[in-house]
Structure formats: structure tokens, C-alpha cells
């Protein structure tokens, strides 16, 4: 059994598959679409349209780099407000054309910078969360690596929320938590286990629907195992969700978050 802290390290590994890898492996004919139509194109979020076998879908993914250079371009997977606004624009587009939405969550958090605050980071996240709670198409959210804070939740409101076995989902980084609550950033290991951030923890807290097992040999070694598992899950659930009428879909989604107390 891996400790929470070990999972934090695995979830953050630079060679762990990123959103783009899942998109390429699971979907066909992905066309990336760019820009929020207001300010810019945030490369820490990739988004576009593709086929899930015969089903047209919209995909949103937080994208970390696979090496130091790409990480600069991708801003280490920390979106600015325009990243979230691009995501929202394309999710509304998905609603218009009745396409299910799949999101891939993998971020250390929303970027804390001057420009991000000037352009309303808080507002961008808030609006996404609110709009996602009410979009009239099925939404499936997959935490593939690091799901940290409001920056993760901003593309994390959906009908089904799943986590890969070694992914984490937390209110902030264990380091941040340790420095605030223990006044000692070196206590991150303890923080990681106290915070209840692993897929198992979240399943026990009934905050996620499913854990996708990772191959024993490692996710990079047997990547096709996990992508075929994930594809099966996404497809089955989209088909089930599409059977619900819109009203029921939205009632269930509301209830899903309403009951968290």
C-alpha cells in the first residue's frame, strides 16, 4: 500500500501521462480549439472536439508539460482566468450542439499572479463552477494526476467524477497545508495523510464515483491498460447519462453536490 505522500510524488511525476496523452489514446480525430474570445489562449488548458468511437464529444484538459521546456509553455498546468474562460466557452458550445463533455484534471492550482488577479481569477473559477452545475449535457470529470484547489474544481463539476488510483484531489498542496496549519512546510508528509486526498479517501467520503486502477508495472509502462479501462468507463457512463432526460440529469447533478455537508 502506498502512503498518501508517495501518491503525491507519483501524481506529480513529470513523465506521468498528461491530458494530451489520454486525449490521443481514448478519442479519435481530436481538433484543438483555441482562445477565450476575450483576452488570449491559455496553453495550460487544452480543449477541443473529438469522437469517442461514434459519439462526438467536447474535451477540456489541464495540461502540464512533459519536460522543463514544455512546462514553461504550459505554465506548469496552472491556468489563468482566460484558460477557464476558454473552457467555459467550449462547454457552452458543447451544450449548444448537445455534445457530452469530458474533463481531465491535472493542476497544482490556478495561477497566483498579478495578471490573473487583474483579470478576475476568482470570478473565472466561480462562473465555471456555477455554469457547470447547470449545463444540459452529461459531464464526466477525470482526475488524472494532481487535482489541487479551486483550480481543479473549476473544471470539476460533473455527473460522474472519477480518479485514477494514484491521483490526488485536495484543497491545496500538502506543503501549503503544512505551512498554514502546522506552521512547518516540512511536515508535508503528515499533512498529505491527514488531508485525505487519495482516491481511496475521496471514495470513502463519497465525493467521487469510481477509482480507475493503475497497472502494477506503472502507468507509463502499461498505458494502454488504463486508457482502455477509462474509455470503457467514460463510454458506458455517457450512454447511461444520455438516457436521462435533461431535467433528471440536472436534478441528479445538483443533488450530487447538494448533499455534501
Amino acid at each position: 500500500m502506498k502512503t498518501a505522500w508517495e501518491k503525491v510524488q507519483i501524481a506529480r511525476k513529470i513523465d506521468r501521462p498528461k491530458s494530451s496523452d489520454y486525449i490521443n489514446a481514448i478519442f479519435n480525430d481530436f481538433i484543438e480549439l483555441h482562445g477565450d474570445r476575450n483576452y488570449g489562449d491559455d496553453k495550460s488548458i487544452i480543449a477541443g472536439i473529438a469522437y469517442l468511437d461514434e459519439i462526438p464529444v467536447t474535451i477540456i484538459g489541464e495540461q502540464k508539460g512533459k519536460n522543463a521546456k514544455e512546462n514553461i509553455t504550459r505554465n506548469f498546468g496552472m491556468p489563468e482566468p482566460e484558460g477557464y474562460r476558454k473552457a467555459l466557452r467550449l462547454m457552452k458550445q458543447a451544450e449548444k450542439f448537445n455534445r457530452p463533455i469530458i474533463t481531465f484534471i491535472d493542476t497544482p492550482g490556478a495561477f497566483p499572479g498579478i495578471g490573473a488577479e487583474e483579470r478576475g481569477q476568482g470570478e473565472a473559477i466561480a462562473r465555471n463552477i456555477m455554469e457547470m452545475s447547470n449545463l444540459k449535457v452529461p459531464i464526466i470529470c477525470v482526475v488524472i494526476g494532481e487535482g489541487s484547489s479551486g483550480g481543479a474544481l473549476a473544471i470539476g463539476v460533473g455527473d460522474k467524477i472519477v480518479m485514477l488510483e494514484n491521483a490526488i484531489y485536495s484543497i491545496l498542496s500538502p506543503e501549503g497545508f503544512a505551512s498554514i496549519l502546522y506552521k512547518d512546510a516540512s511536515k508535508s508528509k503528515i499533512a498529505a495523510s491527514e488531508m485525505k486526498i487519495t482516491a481511496n479517501d475521496l471514495k470513502k467520503l463519497e465525493l467521487i464515483d469510481e477509482i480507475i486502477k493503475e497497472p502494477k508495472e506503472g502507468i507509463t509502462q502499461k498505458f494502454e491498460e488504463i486508457t482502455s479501462e477509462l474509455k470503457k468507463y467514460i463510454k458506458t457512463n455517457i450512454k447511461d447519462l444520455q438516457k436521462l432526460d435533461t431535467e433528471m440529469l440536472l436534478v441528479k447533478r445538483y443533488e450530487k453536490f447538494r448533499k455534501i455537508y
Binding site: 497566483p112 488577479e117 487583474e118 456555477m130 479551486g150 484531489y169 485525505k196
Partner: protein, 290 residues
């Protein structure tokens, strides 16, 4: 950091006797203004909406005083008061800390909700309180605010939320984060019902509260010089390794950048809210001027 600022302000309101010797009991009746350094007679401060009579600095308000300033006398009826703090992570010492805080602050959580009248107009209000774990949003705060929103929907009333918050409550971890989704989803329902939501941002409003219901008002008001932002100033400084602009994340900065509608002084707040509510209340035909 936001937290330091909150602590400082806390001391002003809840610890007036700090650093006073037995001989100067009177000192408890005085308070020093953070901004202009003037020593102010406390009663004078309170009679002036807890605004410095010298420089206009808006001191932090408890939820009790805030409700008194906004609700017509005797009209506030609390709702969701039975919703209590939960401890989903079984986080060591958390509930004990909460108990001590309850005793000390005479508060039972970081938000008080209720129905009331504001210059004669019925409304649902939720008032956060920074004296309780920096106004952080855990599951009880999220639940109370959601009940307040749902009450507004059921009774077809306008909603007013006064925010003051250090963000999501760390001690409840991921469950706190999910309160952002819960409250925002409820606001979506309020919008569908066509009801008015006025969000008032007070010093400081940050983190998960800024990134959820506080930023979703039809009309967003703020008190002068209130610190409002998503990330705390110190986190930003550490990340980008540079000094922040002088008025960064102040209400005036947000107004400049288009994220709030209006900065309203505390003495004018009640009337502004009632005017806005009135504007959104359909006028009965008989009252329409010919």
C-alpha cells in the same frame, strides 16, 4: 498575508484589553486606528458605523453589528442556526478549537443567515464573520449559505450576502472545497428563479469564497479599501518573486478592473441595498405614475 491582517483586526475588536495595565481600565474604551494612528473613543467609533471618524477607515464588523446596521430593528429571524460544524477529516484538535472559539466569540459558525426587512423590504441575508476561523468556509458555512439561497428561492425573496473570508476552511479539506460547488450551484438555481442576488464584499474576501458565491452576484458591492482577491498577496509575491502594486487587490483596484459594480461606504450601505431591492421589485399597477 490575509491571515495576519485578519488577526490584527481581530485584536482590535475582540481583544481591547491587550497590552493594557490594570491601572488604565479606560484604555479598553479606546482603540487605535490602523490607518491614521488616531486614538478613537470606542463608543464614537461604534456610533459611526465602526468607521474611523478621522480618516474613514472601515473597521471590521462582527456579524451581530452588521445585521444591526442592515436589518430593520427586530426583523431579523435566524435560519439554519441548527447547522453545526462537522469534522469530516477527523482532524486533530479541530472540534476542540471550534468549541473554544464558540465560547470566546459567542458565535456558532462563521456565517449567520436569516430573513429580515431592509427599509421595510423583505430579504434573505447571510452575513459572514471573520472572528470565527477567519470567516473560512467549511461544510457548515456552505450548508447555511445554501439553505439561505434555497430559502430565498422558496419564499421568492431577494438575497444579500456579506462576505468576509480567508477562503475555504483548511481543517475540513476537500469537503470545504466542495462547498464552493454546492453554494454556486444553488446560486444557479436562484438565477433561474429570476431572483436578485446582491453580493457585498468586505475586508478581506479571498480564496474559495471569492471563487464561488461572492463573485456571482447580479450586483457586486464592496466596502472602501476592502482586500478582495483569489490568491493571497503573500502567495502571489512568493510565486512571482516581485513586489505587488500598491493598491493591488483593493476594492478600488477591482472596480478599476471591472469586477465590482460599486464601492459603497458603510453609512450608505443599507439605503443602497434597499434601493436596489426596490428597483427589482415589480411595482403594483396602481402605483405606476400616469
Amino acid at each position: 498575508m490575509v491571515i495576519d491582517k485578519v488577526k490584527k483586526l481581530n485584536e482590535i475588536e475582540t481583544k481591547p484589553h491587550k497590552n493594557t495595565k490594570a491601572s488604565d481600565m479606560l484604555v479598553g474604551k479606546w482603540v487605535k486606528c490602523d490607518k491614521c494612528k488616531e486614538i478613537i473613543y470606542k463608543e464614537e467609533l461604534h456610533n459611526n458605523y465602526s468607521v474611523c471618524p478621522n480618516c474613514g477607515k472601515h473597521f471590521r464588523l462582527s456579524s451581530r453589528r452588521r445585521i444591526k446596521q442592515i436589518a430593520d430593528e427586530g426583523t431579523f429571524k435566524e435560519i439554519a442556526g441548527d447547522i453545526i460544524t462537522k469534522d469530516p477529516l477527523k482532524f486533530e484538535g479541530y472540534l476542540k478549537k471550534v468549541d473554544i472559539l464558540k465560547e470566546k466569540t459567542k458565535l456558532d459558525e462563521a456565517v449567520k443567515c436569516g430573513t429580515c426587512e431592509i427599509e421595510g423590504q423583505k430579504a434573505v441575508i447571510a452575513v459572514m464573520d471573520g472572528n470565527f476561523l477567519m470567516g473560512s468556509m467549511g461544510s457548515a458555512v456552505g450548508e447555511r449559505i445554501t439553505i439561505a439561497i434555497e430559502t430565498a428561492i422558496q419564499q421568492k425573496l431577494p438575497l444579500v450576502i456579506f462576505s468576509v473570508s480567508g477562503g475555504a476552511r483548511m481543517q475540513e479539506g476537500i469537503v470545504s472545497l466542495m462547498q464552493m460547488a454546492k453554494t454556486s450551484a444553488a446560486i444557479a438555481k436562484l438565477n433561474e428563479a429570476g431572483l436578485l442576488y446582491i453580493s457585498v464584499l468586505t475586508d478581506p474576501t479571498t480564496g474559495g469564497v471569492t471563487a464561488s458565491f461572492a463573485s456571482l452576484g447580479d450586483i457586486i458591492l464592496a466596502e472602501p479599501e476592502a482586500l478582495i482577491g483569489f490568491a493571497g498577496p503573500r502567495v502571489i509575491e512568493q510565486t512571482i518573486n516581485q513586489r505587488l502594486p500598491k493598491d493591488f487587490q483593493k476594492a478600488e483596484f477591482l472596480l478599476e478592473h471591472g469586477f465590482i459594480d460599486k464601492i459603497v461606504e458603510r453609512k450608505d450601505m443599507k439605503h443602497m441595498i434597499s434601493t436596489l431591492i426596490k428597483f427589482h421589485t415589480p411595482t403594483p399597477k396602481s402605483e405606476v405614475k400616469k
